[in-house]
Amino acid sequence: MPTVAGKRRNVRFPFAHLKTAPLTTAQKPQKQTQKQNQNQEKRPDTRSTSSQGRKMASQAAPHPGTPALFTQPPPIRDPLVTETTDLQDATLSKCLPFLKGTSDLQKGPFNASGVPALQRDDHVEYLYDSLEDYPAGFVAMDSSRPWMIYWGLAGLTLLGEDVSRVHQRVIASIRPMQNPTGGFGGGHGQISHLASSYAAVLSLAMVGSSDAFALVDRQAMWQWLGRLKQADGGFRVCEGGEEDVRGAYCASVIISLLNLPLDLPPTSEARLAGFDNLTDGLGEYLSRCQSFEGGISGSPGVEAHGAYAFCALACLSILGPPENTIAKHMNLPLLLSWLSARQYAPEGGFSGRTNKLVDGCYSHWVGGCWPLLQSALDGKPQSASAPSTTVGSLFSREGLDRYILACCQHPQGGLRDKPGKHADAYHTCYVLTGLSATQHHHYRTDSSPCANKNFSSAFSWRSKPTSADENVFEKSDRLTAFHPIYVIPHQAAEKMRLWYEAEPFAT
């Protein structure tokens, strides 16, 4: 039964495969609705399971301009076969024809580096569709609608679309999600959640109107954050919910963008733990999330994971200059080693954990860690322009660009985890975010537009496009730059912060 006034719109169903996103509250809908794609994507599995001489699927010659690094299996492969190698070999078989440019499911055209063009128009169309109506089978997305709005708006913004034209629709959608006790839930009548609130606040920032900013009840938000703050320094994601690194990151984004007071509300139970501020003990909490591998887990003691690594490093980069906060709370040599090991060849993309598969979404979660770590290594900014000496890129931009453009583009629009998977708005947003990050150099300056000094370093980031001789993609494939912490345009983050700085806050 339709719930929206007016006539139903006919749309494609882009969420047929939606993997559980680290930040979302949703789970994969069980229903497969994109039959046509499924058939087109089915590839014969020619992988041999014998321990000796495991072969890769495609024997066709690679597209000219493609280095052997991206067309050959890795040089050392153990004979012992386990579930992990079975999955890894299957993934390689699926990726190699795409990396070589020999798959008939790729659109092209291919450039001199053997890299296919970004199907910009297809992705724009896909994302506009993703913001429209979903059939009943998508009921599992009911608590993730703020995310769907964020992913759609962010993806479109990266592709150069002006999303301010839907600002009334954004406000109408998000208004009923706000609770009078503070924060936004996944929908009307759902309790407030930090992930929903993060997606809602960033969506309002992207449309960027005063109406949108005025929608947020900051006093109630501040009170609510005070109730989520825990005695160990971290944040629960909702009242009665779990505490993890997502909570820490989403809370810090909200506190800094809305220019909330740092003081804990007088009634906050976290005061009993000796804390005075919302951010007290937060760096120490994140420090306890670093595992012996060097990466960062969702909560202390669990396995290191790429998505949580981004949340933790971005949170530390809000709390203060990364050369102070990241260097103080993280063992940097361990972290660098683990992060670097997330990039695989020949795939070129990133995995989220040791011995797991590449996935396009880590283009952002893992790729997004690099500018933050590079800034930490470069040290205190000395000028308003890019630093004259820098540690530079510590990962392969070329590898990631190849994985994204060759493997992650769905022939019918939208981007995906890997070949053989459906596209969805989550992957479309974060694969494009990762591509944008490879197309820019991100750095901090010694100046911030903020009058309030709290978190001023987070607002000092700037970017410049990479030079043409560094790139394997074409000029026409360029995307808008995103702020490496807030994952929206720099000016959108800045405008929101300055608007709230000018608004009085009555505690």
Partner: protein, 332 residues
């Protein structure tokens, strides 16, 4: 909305459902809207009403089960359900039984595992771990041996019930590593059993983390070391490396063990060297090459650069920029 299983049920007569506000009253079309099935719309309209009244009742409990069956990703209904279970003093073992079925059906669901933790955290109901709990977790791992939510819950369990030395914990980890020596989640759990902070120390991935008394460089280094345990774990790692040398998990486990003991990577120079014959070009593990590079980095710069160069040019060239960075840091 007058038709429906709740509207027609006398038990629910006293409740005025709260209809969904999707924002369309403003005249603007909401974004990413869903054509909800009518039974979901009705059930959630009653859910909003009983939640607004904070009703703790049998009928509200049944309603939460209904909503969960229609959409298990609805995090709000799980939190409300937990509250009702405690308020009505329900049999939580029965709840766990029901939860087992739901968990096996929705393997990727977040909410189920937090709900389980909320129940299990009740000392009044569960002074000790229920006997079948670890069996059920192994059943989950049979479906997905790297399921992040289940491992997160299991880590919480060992801390909550102080199970670090329970033989069953190590047995389960070993059987999972035996089945797939590349199961990094199992390696992480083993590290936490052996070297994780215990008792009153806050939960952490490494000892000494997030403390005002130590720096980030000192994370993971134990103050009291059981050298026999350390040696045992190093031998275990060696045996697993021999099975599959190009497997990052045991190499990095061994680094963590040596770090905990305050012992350097140098003592494994001979072992790592077995996998690297640079003269014949027979190299069976890039992790062994990296190990040797780290051994040589303090004192034998030229040899360290040689190893990093092998990684950069031959065995792990996608990470060229990182290996170059490591080379720059070596004092030749």
């Amino acid at each position: 909305m007058a038709e429906g299983k709740y509207a027609n049920d006398p038990e629910w007569e006293s409740i005025t459902p709260i209809q969904l506000d999707d924002g369309s009253d403003s005249g603007a079309m909401p974004l990413a809207s869903i054509a909800y099935p009518s039974e979901y719309l009705e059930a959630t309209s009653y859910l909003r009403a009983v939640m607004a009244a904070n009703e703790m009742s049998e009928r509200a409990l049944r309603l939460t089960e209904d909503v969960i069956s229609l959409n298990p990703a609805h995090y709000t209904v799980w939190i409300y359900r937990a509250k009702i279970l405690f308020a009505l003093e329900k049999d939580l073992l029965e709840e766990l039984e029901w939860l087992n079925g739901v968990s096996l059906k929705y393997l990727k669901n977040y909410q189920i595992w937090h709900h389980r933790q909320v129940l299990m955290a009740s000392k009044a109901h569960f002074p000790t771990i229920p006997t079948k709990e670890l069996d059920f977790l192994m059943e989950m791992f049979a479906q997905d041996s790297k399921n992040y939510h289940v491992w997160t819950y299991r880590h919480w369990l060992i801390r909550h019930f102080k199970l670090w030395d329970l033989p069953r914990e190590l047995e389960d980890v070993e059987s999972l590593i035996k089945a797939d020596v590349r199961n990094n989640s199992a390696w992480n759990h083993r590290y936490m059993l052996r070297f994780g902070p215990r008792e009153d120390a806050p939960a952490a991935g490494m000892a000494n983390a997030g403390s005002a008394l130590s720096t980030a460089d000192e994370k993971g280094v134990l103050t009291v070391v059981d050298e026999d345990l350390v040696d045992f774990e190093l031998e275990f790692a060696k045996a697993q490396i021999v099975r599959a040398p190009e497997n990052r998990s045991p190499w990095w486990y061994a680094r963590g063990v040596l770090r905990a003991a305050g012992r350097g990577v140098g003592e494994w120079e001979g072992f790592a060297g077995k996998f690297v014959d640079t003269h014949s070009g027979d190299v069976r593990s890039s992790h062994a090459v990296e190990w040797l590079a780290d051994v040589y980095a303090s004192g034998e710069g030229v040899k360290a650069v040689e190893m990093f160069t092998l990684l950069k040019e031959k065995y792990d060239p996608i990470r060229k920029n990182y290996w170059d960075y490591r080379i720059q840091q070596v004092v030749v």
